[in-house]
Structure formats: structure tokens, C-alpha cells
Amino acid sequence: MLTQNQRETGEADDRTDRALVARTANGDESAFRLLYERLAERVFRYAFSLLHNRHLAEEVAQETMVVVWRQAGKFEGRSKVSTWVFGIARFRALDLLRKEQRGARVPEPTLAEPDPAPAIHDRERALGAIKTLPEEQREVVFLTFYEGLSYSEISGMLGIPEGTVKSRMYYARRALAEALT
């Protein structure tokens, strides 16, 4: 469980991100580079959790970071920087998903080949189980267990009631527990 130290680290991280966004808004490239180093990988993983496609997830990460550069001055600070950035990434990812579903894009095969090593096999199994979840549940699982967002933060980011966040998580957790047993 998260300790007081971890919580304080999260708050300090957000303060750093906010300072970097403010500098980026003033056109400071070195600040933008630092922001990229802190966020691009996380955005990529979030996009991957939605799209399950490395190429598209990179495209989302690229477009998101470009929007961060252009829109840094418009960040109002009402949420964590990471929540704002994930919101941008989500919009881009869902747009790509819609295009893919309409057949405008051709998805590429993505997940790595299964490896015989037990730890890797477990991870592949977990990834496989996560992949079977409906997209809206997968997203809540990622944001809760990987990004450590609270249910109210997720509710604000996705624009859905807190009760919906909790019920999505409840069903996702039940499915994962069954798949991973």
C-alpha cells in the first residue's frame, strides 16, 4: 500500500511537472525536453493499454507531446499535469481507435512472442488477461494500478461518475482474478 512518503513523492513530482509546464509555456525547450523525459514513456504505455499497438501508441505519444508544447500556456492547473496529459492522449487514442474501427487504418501485430521464462510467461499471461477486458475497464485498471490515480481523478479525467469508475474496476478485477488464478 502507498506510504506517506510515496504520496509526498507524487505531490513533489506534480510540482516539478507544473514548473516544467510553466517554463514550456514560455518556450523553454530544455524544460520541454525534461517534460518529455518524464511523461512520454507513461503516455506511450497508457496509449498502448488502449490500443495494443506499438506503432499507434507511439503516434499518440508523439502527437500528445506536440500538443503539450503548443498548449502548455493553456494548462490551468486544475488537475495534475499527468492527468491533463493523459486526457490529451486519450482523445488522440480514441480518435485513432475510431479510424481503425472504420477501417481507415490497418492495425499491425504487436505483442511480443511468448518467452518460455516463467516470469515473462506470467507477464504475458497477465497482459493477455488485461487485453480481454473491455476497453473502458482496461483503462480504469491501468489508471488505478499503474498510474495510481484516485477514483475521483479518473472520474474527472474520463468524464464519468465516480460510481461508474468503481463498478468498471469491480468487474475488471473480478475478471482478472479469475483469469489469473
Binding site: Q6, D28, R54, A177
Partner: protein, 126 residues
């Protein structure tokens, strides 16, 4: 005391330490007295560990991504003038981006860059 159903919905954020103090205390009190919910906490911890391991194992972004981002966001440098030394210096530059040709000027003091001018599209500056 909260009902089991209510507590079980909160357990993912309880194991993440992401509940408000009072709500977390309520859940802790409940699981201290409810063996079924305590088992659910253990199950949530196992799922959390699996999910974390799975997402941590995803491939990293390619090394070229920053190049693509910086080309698209910052543009291609047209000209740059650098005067002074590492300790104190001035850099003037012009870039070409899809959104115009920004001009930037940075003052360098003891290796740290301070922005003086940043004229972006539409003549906006900071």
C-alpha cells in the same frame, strides 16, 4: 460500519493508498473485522502486482520518438548565433515550424539558460 459491497468497490484504491483519510480509515476498520473483505484485499494485491508487472514489461518508446516530437514541435533550425562562453553567453536563433518561423533568444548564465524572447506564430512573445 460500511457494507461489504461498498468496501469492495473501494479496495483497489485502498491497496493503492489512494483513498481520502476518513474513507481509508473506514475501509481499514471494516477489513479488520471482516475476513471475506480481508481476502478480497489480498486478491486485489495479487491482481495489482500482475497488472503492474504486465504494464512495466511493455516495450519502451523508440529512441527516435524525441527526434520526431522535437521536429514537429520545435521545428528545424534555420539560423543560430551563439556568442560568449559557457559561463555567460547569448544565443539567438530562428526556427522553421509548420506553424511559422519562431525567433528565440536565450541568455546563458553559468550553464543555465534564461529565456529572453520567444516569438511564436502570430507575433506572440514571452
Amino acid at each position: 460500519m460500511r457494507r461489504c459491497e461498498e468496501v469492495r468497490e473501494l479496495i483497489p484504491w485502498y491497496v493503492e493508498g489512494n483513498l481520502a483519510t476518513e474513507e481509508g480509515a473506514d475501509v481499514a476498520t471494516h477489513i479488520g473485522e471482516c475476513a471475506a473483505c480481508l481476502r478480497d484485499v489480498a486478491a486485489a494485491l495479487r491482481v495489482r502486482a500482475s497488472v503492474h508487472a504486465a504494464f512495466s514489461a511493455l516495450p519502451l518508446v523508440s529512441e527516435e520518438l524525441w527526434e520526431r516530437v522535437s521536429r514537429q514541435a520545435l521545428g528545424r533550425r534555420l539560423a543560430q548565433l551563439d556568442v560568449g562562453s559557457f559561463i555567460v553567453g547569448l544565443r539567438l536563433g530562428a526556427w522553421l515550424t509548420r506553424r511559422g518561423s519562431p525567433v528565440r533568444a536565450d541568455l546563458r548564465l553559468f550553464g543555465r539558460e534564461v529565456h529572453l524572447i520567444n516569438r511564436r506564430k502570430g507575433g506572440g512573445s514571452s
